[in-house]
Structure formats: structure tokens, C-alpha cells
């Protein structure tokens, strides 16, 4: 695969937080690739490092976070020509290089539309802000036209009137459309959606998801969808990345992960999804135990304590990735007969 096909290539991403003078590793050796024009779903329980991974890539984390990676490469495709950006080498998280990418190349839709909009500005102005930033010389009237067009496209009713409203006058679903409008207005190639529908009603969820799917299929956008809703994954994703305690435990196509589910954690995750028409007497399964505190983790597989197949070997040392089939990778010793993938993982100095 060449750079035209791959839009985002992440290799051995490690994110460490410093809290109370202690270092806590939240994201550990995460590697994945996103193919252009496809949708990747990142799934896992709350606190597994999904959001932190994406925020590390976008460089949104505060000063108490240390982001290290062998490679975070973004490949911009303009007029058939590929420009490579190595995000891990950009020094200032909010400096001009990073800012030039945010908006026209990559953007993010946040989890909670209620708090993602600035309460004191009109929604239209908030959408237009990015547009005016990245298109020098554009007049306010032109920007307004663009915003109206985007509102129409996103199905916001009465755009001429709503454009001059404040966020508090919008419902949750409409606010999320505005947030998506902010993300989309500069026509970025990569859209990272951090649980975009968790805060919304179920009926609105479907609408927002359709909107995102449409953008992927019609406009050829690449989408990363962070979620813990397996139903959404089945509907939206081309590829699935399962994370547990800051590590990718399984990665593969939708088919690989759903039909040839390999990691015990993924299996447990899929079993715990409620299904309509659950047979009488059939119980919804839960994953035993709770996610451990990242500060308390010892070596070995993080899932071992909750895993029915765990052996002593699981707790001894970090588990490598095994490749079951092309593109389908699992971090579990049960598959140790398969080849190990991932170039020698840079082991970050162990922290306490």
C-alpha cells in the first residue's frame, strides 16, 4: 500500500500522563493504519485510551501529557499529489504547522455537543471562524454563504434564521450538526468522531450516523469513529480496532473482527451487546471484574485477570501482536503459533 491509499499511519504511539508527580502510561504502543475513504471504528470500554489516542494524534492534550511515537504520518492528497506530514515531529502542539492541518486536512467531532459550542457566539460565526482562518481574503458574506450551504447539506432547518442563533437555542441533535458543520466547513479529508452520538437521543443518533456515512461514501472522506456501541460499529465501519487498557488488542476488517472474533476481550465485548429478541432464559453476558486502574498495572496482558483462558504465561511479559490473516492482528498468546507482526516494539522506559 502506498501513501495514496493510506491517509493516516500511526506506529508505536505512547502517551504518558504526569499526575501528582507520577507517570501513568495511558496509551501503549498503539499502531494502526487508516485507508483513504474508509471508516475505522475504535472500540473499547470507557477509559481504555480511545479518546486519548485520537487527541494525541491531533495534539490536543495538555502540558501534563507526553506523546511519543515512531511515526504519526498524515498523507495529504491534493490534485493527485501526496504530501507527507510527520505529526510526531511537530514541536508546538498549537503552533502554525499543526494549525494549518486542523480544519482543512483533519478535524474532530467531539462527544458532547452541549459543551462543545462556545455559549457566547452565534453558531454561524463559530462555523465561519475556521473558514475565515484558512481562506485569507474571503469576505464575511462569502463565508456566510458557505455556512448556509453547509447547514442545508447537514439538514438544519431554516438555515437563514438559525445561522444567527446562539447555541442555547438549539436542541442537542441540532447542536451536534453544528459541531459537525464546524468540523466539515474547511472540507477536511480526515474526520475523527469521538463518540459523536453518546450524548444524544437514540433517534437522533441514527440521523447523525447516516450523515457521517454519507460523507464517507459520497465525498470520500476518511472517518475514525470512536465508540463503545457495537451496533454502530457493525453499521459504519470498514475496519475495527479494539482497544483495552491503552493497547490495541485486536485489529482487522469488520468481517475479521465480528465473524472471526479472536481476542477473548473482543469476544466478551460482542457477547455483552444486547440484541433485540433475546431468547427466553438467554442471559446477557457481562465481562467479569472491572477495568484495572492504569496506575496499578503490572507486566503482562492487561486482560489476564478477567480472561477465562488466562495462563501464567499471560502475566509474565508483554504480549506481542500475532497476525492471523493479512490485516487481522490479535494480541493474545492463544495465537502464538501465528507470525508476530510489528517491527520490534520500542519499549518505553517502564514507569511506576
Amino acid at each position: 500500500m502506498d501513501n495514496k491509499e493510506i491517509i493516516l499511519d500511526v506506529e508505536n504511539l505512547n502517551t504518558t500522563f504526569i499526575s501528582d508527580r507520577k507517570k501513568i502510561r495511558i496509551v501503549k504502543n498503539v499502531s494502526f493504519q487508516l485507508k483513504r475513504g474508509t471508516a475505522l471504528a475504535v472500540v473499547g470500554e470507557s477509559g481504555c485510551g480511545k479518546s486519548v489516542t485520537m487527541n494525541s494524534i491531533m495534539r490536543f492534550l495538555g502540558k501534563n501529557a507526553i506523546v511519543e511515537a515512531d511515526k504519526i504520518q498524515y498523507n495529504a492528497l491534493r490534485d493527485g499529489k501526496v504530501t507527507e506530514y510527520r505529526l510526531e515531529n511537530i514541536e508546538k502542539p498549537h503552533g502554525p504547522e499543526m494549525r494549518a492541518l486542523r480544519g482543512p486536512e483533519m478535524s474532530m467531532v467531539f462527544q458532547d455537543p452541549m459543551s462543545s459550542l462556545n455559549p457566547v457566539y452565534k453558531v454561524g460565526d463559530q462555523v465561519a471562524e475556521g473558514l475565515l482562518q484558512h481562506n485569507k481574503g474571503m469576505t464575511k458574506a462569502q463565508a456566510r454563504e458557505k455556512v448556509l450551504e453547509m447547514f442545508r447539506k447537514l439538514g438544519i432547518p431554516d438555515p437563514e434564521e438559525r445561522i444567527d442563533c446562539y447555541p442555547h437555542q438549539f436542541s442537542g441533535g441540532m447542536k451536534q450538526r453544528v459541531v459537525i458543520a464546524i468540523a466539515m466547513i474547511c472540507n477536511p479529508e480526515l474526520i475523527i468522531c469521538d463518540e459523536p452520538t453518546t450524548a444524544l437521543d437514540v433517534t437522533i443518533q441514527a440521523q447523525i450516523m447516516e450523515l457521517l456515512k454519507e460523507m464517507q461514501l459520497k465525498d470520500g472522506k476518511s472517518i475514525i469513529l470512536i465508540t463503545h456501541n457495537m451496533g454502530l460499529v457493525a453499521e459504519m465501519a470498514d475496519e475495527v480496532c479494539v482497544m483495552y487498557m491503552g493497547r490495541v488488542v485486536e485489529f482487522g476488517s469488520l468481517e475479521d473482527v465480528f465473524d472471526h472474533t479472536s481476542h477473548p476481550y473482543t469476544q466478551a465485548l460482542l457477547r455483552s451487546v444486547p440484541v433485540l429478541g433475546l431468547a427466553d432464559g438467554q442471559k446477557l453476558e457481562t465481562i467479569p471484574g472491572a477495568t484495572p486502574n492504569p496506575a496499578d498495572l503490572k507486566g503482562g496482558c492487561e486482560f489476564a485477570d478477567r480472561c477465562p483462558y488466562a495462563t501464567d504465561a499471560c502475566r509474565e511479559k508483554d504480549i506481542p501482536m500475532f497476525q492471523l490473516s493479512p490485516g487481522h492482528r490479535v494480541r493474545c498468546l492463544r495465537y502464538s503459533e501465528y507470525p508476530v507482526v510489528g517491527s520490534g516494539e520500542a519499549e518505553v522506559a517502564e514507569v511506576q
Binding site: M58, H94, G103, F110, V120, G130, V179, I182
Partner: protein
């Protein structure tokens, strides 16, 4: 917006009436007879009938509420009455009040600019040098009594260095009114400002930190706009609101503080007048000054409401 302003203005009137009633009744029920100050003691003891007649003329035998209504009527007609010494209260207020307003207004202005400024820089550069120094100063500023700060400043700038005068507002031999005002105002304003800055700085810092942690700041950054725009346009504007509210809550402390500071600098403002009036039991003067201060307070809180509405569409649009 106009409706909002009118509504707020209308609410001030009953507040003032209630306050004036409470103060009036409170002071009149102290059992101190205003007559004692008007009539020399020998007349009081020799011809009590004169006292009685005067009492009747002044309406002091009427029920309190009648006296209150009459007094209120006088005030509304611009008649503020006399002090115990027979001076016009209106004259005293007219000369003294501007001095205090001048003092408080400058202190307010400087402390708002400096306090909010340092607070916001501390928040943006958290744990930086400004933040560190600011925190130390805030702790000290809240621990040292304000009048002591004034005394120390007098000791340094007036006594040791001899730059600024230690007392009064106007020098008799002043040639340039502006320079004279600056020289006399500098130390008291500085003293008041130090106390206010300590509080404001800490509050502005914490508010700004809260705002900078909110999701819409991340949204703003995701648009790729420069950091100064993120801080000023998205951060500052939202942090202003709670800071303004706290600024309003500090106005009573500022005015209270200026009473003490006026005393330190022998500054001929309304505060020293009030303190003297209380010690000499000049109740008419106390009454009028209290009402004026109450009115100033209400106007300030009204102004904060208006600012608040200007800054926040949720308030402005009345939802």
C-alpha cells in the same frame, strides 16, 4: 435589552426604600435625642418648655413612620438636613463624596486591569513565573491587613523616600491640580489596589483555568485558529462573566476598605466623615451617608447586570 434595563432599574427603588426605612428606624430607636445636640445643656435644664416646643415643631413626637415619610419627602426635595453642628449635610456630601468616588474608582479600575490581567496570564502560563509570583502575592495580600499595607507604604514612600505626601487630598500651595491629585491619590489607590488585586487575581486565574479546560476551547483549537484567538476570543470572553460577578461582590469590600484607608491617609472622603459621624453620634449624617453608599452599591450591581447581559446571550435573550 431596554426592557431588561428598565426592569433592573425598577427593582432598585423598593430596595432603597427598605434600606432607608430600616436605617431610619434603627437610628431613631437608639434612644438618643437629637435635641440634645441642638439646644445647649443649660437651656435644656432651665426651660424645658422650649425643648418641648422645638420637639413639636420638628415633629419628633409624631409616630416614627410619619417622621420617616416626612424625612423621605425632604430628601426627595433635595433637603438633606443639618448636622449636629448645624452644617448643611448636602454641602459636606458635595465636597467629600467626589473624593471617595475618585479613590474607589481608580482602585477599582487598576485592580480590575492588573488583577484580571495577571490572573489570565497565570492561567495561560500555568506554573510559570507570573503564576508563581502572583500566587505568593495573593497569599500575602490576603493576610496583611489593608491599613497596615497603607502604613508600610507611608513609611517607605512618604517618610523614608519622601516622594508622596502621607495625608490629605489637596495641598494648599499646589500649582498644578493634576499633579497634586496624582501625588495625593497614588498611595491610597495603591493600597486599595493591592488588597483587591490579591483576590481578583486568584479568582480570575481559577475561572480562566476552568474555561480553558472546557470543550469549546478544544473545538476552537480544532479550527486551527491562532492561540491568542483561542485565549482572548473564546477563553477570556467566557471567563469575564464570573469575574465581573466577583468584582461586584468586591465593591462592598472596596468601599469598606476605603473607609479604613481614608483614615490611614487622613483622606477627607466620605469614609472618614462617616467614622467621625458615628463617634460624634451625628445621626442625620450617618443616615444620609448610608443611603448614598447603598445607592452606589445598587448602581454598581445594576451595571454588572448590564455587562453580564452584554456578555452572555442567555441572559440577554431572557431565557
Amino acid at each position: 435589552m431596554l426592557k431588561f434595563i428598565l426592569k433592573k432599574l425598577a427593582m432598585m427603588i423598593p430596595m432603597l426604600l427598605v434600606i432607608s426605612l430600616i436605617v431610619f428606624v434603627g437610628l431613631r430607636s437608639t434612644g438618643i435625642d437629637p435635641i440634645t445636640f441642638m439646644v445647649p445643656p443649660e437651656v435644656q435644664s432651665q426651660s424645658p418648655e422650649i425643648v418641648d416646643q422645638l420637639r413639636e415643631e420638628l415633629g419628633l413626637n409624631d409616630p416614627l413612620i410619619v417622621q420617616y415619610v416626612r424625612w423621605l419627602g425632604d430628601i426627595l426635595h433635595g433637603d438633606l438636613g443639618l448636622t449636629n453642628k448645624g452644617e448643611s449635610v448636602a454641602d459636606i456630601i458635595a465636597t467629600r463624596l467626589p473624593y471617595t468616588l475618585e479613590l474607589s474608582a481608580y482602585a477599582m479600575l487598576f485592580s480590575a486591569v492588573i488583577g484580571i490581567g495577571i490572573g489570565i496570564i497565570s492561567a495561560i502560563r500555568q506554573n510559570g513565573i507570573v503564576d508563581y509570583i502572583g500566587r505568593v502575592l495573593a497569599v500575602l495580600g490576603q493576610a496583611v491587613p489593608q491599613f497596615l499595607v497603607g502604613i508600610v507604604l507611608i513609611w517607605i514612600f512618604s517618610i523614608k523616600l519622601g516622594i508622596f505626601p502621607a495625608a490629605n487630598r489637596v495641598s494648599p500651595d499646589a500649582t498644578n491640580a493634576f499633579v497634586d491629585a496624582f501625588m495625593h491619590l497614588f498611595l491610597p489607590v495603591l493600597t486599595l489596589t493591592i488588597g483587591m488585586v490579591a483576590v481578583l487575581m486568584r479568582y480570575a486565574r481559577n475561572t480562566m483555568l476552568d474555561v480553558l479546560n472546557s470543550d469549546y476551547i478544544k473545538t476552537a483549537r480544532s479550527k486551527g485558529i491562532p492561540e491568542w484567538k483561542v485565549y482572548m476570543k473564546h477563553g477570556f470572553r467566557n471567563a469575564m462573566k464570573p469575574v465581573l460577578v466577583i468584582l461586584m461582590y468586591r465593591i462592598p469590600a472596596l468601599i469598606g476598605g476605603s473607609v479604613v484607608i481614608e483614615s490611614v491617609f487622613s483622606y477627607p472622603g466620605i469614609g472618614t466623615t462617616m467614622a467621625n459621624a458615628v463617634t460624634s453620634m451625628d445621626y442625620n449624617l450617618v443616615l444620609v451617608i448610608t443611603l448614598i453608599i447603598a445607592a452606589v452599591m445598587l448602581i454598581c450591581s445594576f451595571m454588572v447586570d448590564v455587562f453580564n447581559a452584554l456578555l452572555d446571550p442567555r441572559v440577554r435573550l431572557g431565557e
